[in-house]
Amino acid sequence: MIDSVRKAAKTPDEPMPFAELGMKPDEYARVKEILGRRPTGSELAIYSVMWSEHCSYKSSKVHLKQFATKAPKSEALLVGMGENAGVVDIGDGWAATFKIESHNHPSYVEPHQGAATGVGGIVRDIMSMGARPIAVMDALRFGGADAVDTRRVLPGVVEGIGHYGNCLGLPNIGGEVVFDPCYIGNPLVNALCVGLLRKDQIKLATAPGPGNKVVLFGASTGPDGIGGASVLASATFEDESHAKRPAVQVGDPFMEKLLIECCLELYAADVVVGIQDLGAAGVSCATTELAAKGTGGMHVDLTRVPLRDPSLRPEEILMSESQERMMAVVEPRDIPAFMAICEKWDVPATVIGEVTDTGRLVMTWEGEIIVDIPPGTAADDGPVYERPYHEPAGQAALNTDTPDRLERPSDLRETLLKLLGSPNLASREWVTSQYDRYVRSNTVLAQPADAGMVRIAETMAGAEHAPTTRGIALATDGNGRYAKLDPYAGAQLALAEAYRNVAVTGAQPLAVTNCLNFGSPEDPEVMWQFAEATRGLADACRALGVPVTGGNVSFYNQTGSTAIHPTPVVGVLGVIDDVARRVPTGFTAEGLRVVLLGD
């Protein structure tokens, strides 16, 4: 039987498996207070994913605020934090949007698919801003190079990133590979995507205009990544077949490539009012966020969601993390044009609902109302924690243990050979040769340069514009060992390095994205690292005059109770007026003077 709103009202005391879904008792109590009754299974599904650490940033929010409050004034900033990705003005009517995101845990479970879907996810974020994705980068951390598990994880991750990005036709213009034993049970896979759009064509995740249609398009919905939802399904339905659902998502880069071209044609035809990619929390996230930022209401018929597996229950549909899906808000008169474009690109599209002005997100299943909530309560009013933190016990001792204690090597030659042979300094060609850096024919700098650079040679359909000589440069950097010693300074050094790497190409650094990889926020020592790192990064951004435009927090990177080194990875985007004047890495001619700058 369907757990409908009607049923929930009649059975107020029925126990719900909130704890199994990762919800705390007080959080569940808040849901009941908001609704004035117990939630239905579907409502619980929505709140549990939307209020998860991953979606709500409940532990990091209070610290991330500094990125906004301390942000330097920037004329270039068109869209700041809070949207799918930040957007900066890069001149001549062009704007760039970029963001870095983690896919650490899935990449440990299934390296190829985990890393691949990490690329897929960040690319959809960029698409949802109205942009054409034009390049990707990847910052990777693995355990020791000779560790058995690294041999399993590294090739799969590189293959997954390579295959997905190559298949989308996005040049890979840089990244990092770092080995350190602290990542052995928890590798880091951070993927960055940058996109290009005309300044006046930014799209936002919003659903305004009662009567407008809600369209789900792209791949069909399957039981991907809903290990958690099985709790609900089995609790609510006592149905064995739902007990074992895969936690792994599989990517279809071909579908994503079609989605990219399809979306760009939809934008050019001007038939999209609002758009949102389906990420971690799938339909739950897209519907609540679109509705919350729009006129405030939405009516969705979940039975209309096209399914890959017809046995899916509504709770599972709401929590499914199936990849390569997007949700658009479309004016009724534009629906035929919208559908025609989707059909041209072989992209399935279905109207699943309508925007309303009721202030409620209402969902039905086989005629019964199964969700009736104020969407903002799920999307925006999640719990916020001021987690306790304190300096780690051994921090002072760690810092007094300086290199002065080390013995000076007597044999320089041997030291040099040892350095050259160390995995962290070795050639990255085994990795980079598996990535297409040439596709789109706009790559000005890629490996072995310290920053990637692409020229802006796009012509955007539906926009009048003259050619430009401009380009953008990007670098990502981070050093977990520095950050472990001093998270405040470590985060600043990461920014400074990426900033320098962009600047030395001849580009002017403009904006910052970051991926903050840490252990458990419930550990006060980890939380201290996090607080210090964010404070350091925010202060450094102010000092250098570059705002943070977006990013991602990844907590719970640990094996047992042992956290990874705090690893803030920082991406910097810069603009160069004339790509022909870029400065490549390396000595280009004999007889040139070599000058050391700085101290």
Binding site: G169, P253, F254, K257, W345, S441, T443
Partner: protein, 227 residues
């Protein structure tokens, strides 16, 4: 005289179509977009099948694309002498469509490889290589996971005997291709397929170092003007 018109085909999943079109423009010809689902070659003077992952390269590279409506037009036109070139996925499609013999299979390394590759032009008597010198060595990027050319013993012997090997890898074989074959032509010389990407080597600023790929595009112009 109006500019020579070179059709550039886009299949679902094609990636290098814009790059090919840009290279066509660079040599002063006109690039005409051709859509896989149309039964229409738009009267072009030559056709470029670009690289990518058409249909995701699912099943086999090029296996699904060769059934596209545009191919129903292209196959007879190529038979009648229309100059056609396929690079990378385009080469794979030409083989799947039996416009060229043999097949392209998984790289021996089992890895995708993207690198600047030295190749030797072995045959200038084609519509697409007449601007080169016989035996000229040039650098073009390769970027593929399934580029190992294979064919039966007789086919190979016939290719070699007939001078149908157009481009050969030099200084290292990136994928294990038989006889270091990087590209071949058909009997008539109007259809050429190769794994390397000339369209990524046409500007100093971007792509591979140098502009060695330009010769393929100037060749077709010369071919069309001379014709």
């Amino acid at each position: 005289m109006s500019a020579a018109r070179v059709g550039v085909v886009t299949f679902p999943g094609t990636l290098d179509d814009q790059d090919a079109a840009r290279a066509v423009h660079l040599v002063g010809a006109q690039a005409v977009p051709l859509w896989h689902a149309d039964h229409d070659l738009k009267g072009v003077d030559a056709v470029f099948l670009p690289g990518g992952f058409s249909y995701g390269d699912y099943l086999r590279c090029g296996a699904i694309s060769r059934f596209a409506p545009i191919m129903a037009e292209l196959v007879p036109a190529a038979g009648a002498g229309l100059p056609v070139i396929g690079t990378c996925n385009g080469f794979q499609i030409l083989c799947e469509a039996h416009l060229l013999p043999g097949a392209l299979t998984r790289n021996v390394s089992l890895h995708y490889v993207c690198r600047d590759q030295r190749v030797r032009i072995e045959q200038t008597a084609t519509a697409w290589t007449n601007a080169f010198e016989q035996g000229q060595e040039i650098v073009l990027p390769v970027k593929h996971g399934e580029g190992r050319y294979v064919a039966s013993g007789e086919t190979l012997a016939a290719l070699e005997a007939g001078g149908h090997v157009v481009v050969r890898y030099a200084g290292g074989n990136p994928n294990g291709s038989l006889n270091d074959i990087a590209g071949i032509r058909n009997e008539a010389g109007n259809v050429v397929g190769l794994m390397p990407h000339p369209e990524h080597a046409v500007e100093e600023l971007v792509g591979a170092p140098g502009t060695d790929g330009l010769g393929f595009f100037t060749s077709i112009l010369k071919n069309l003007v001379d014709a």
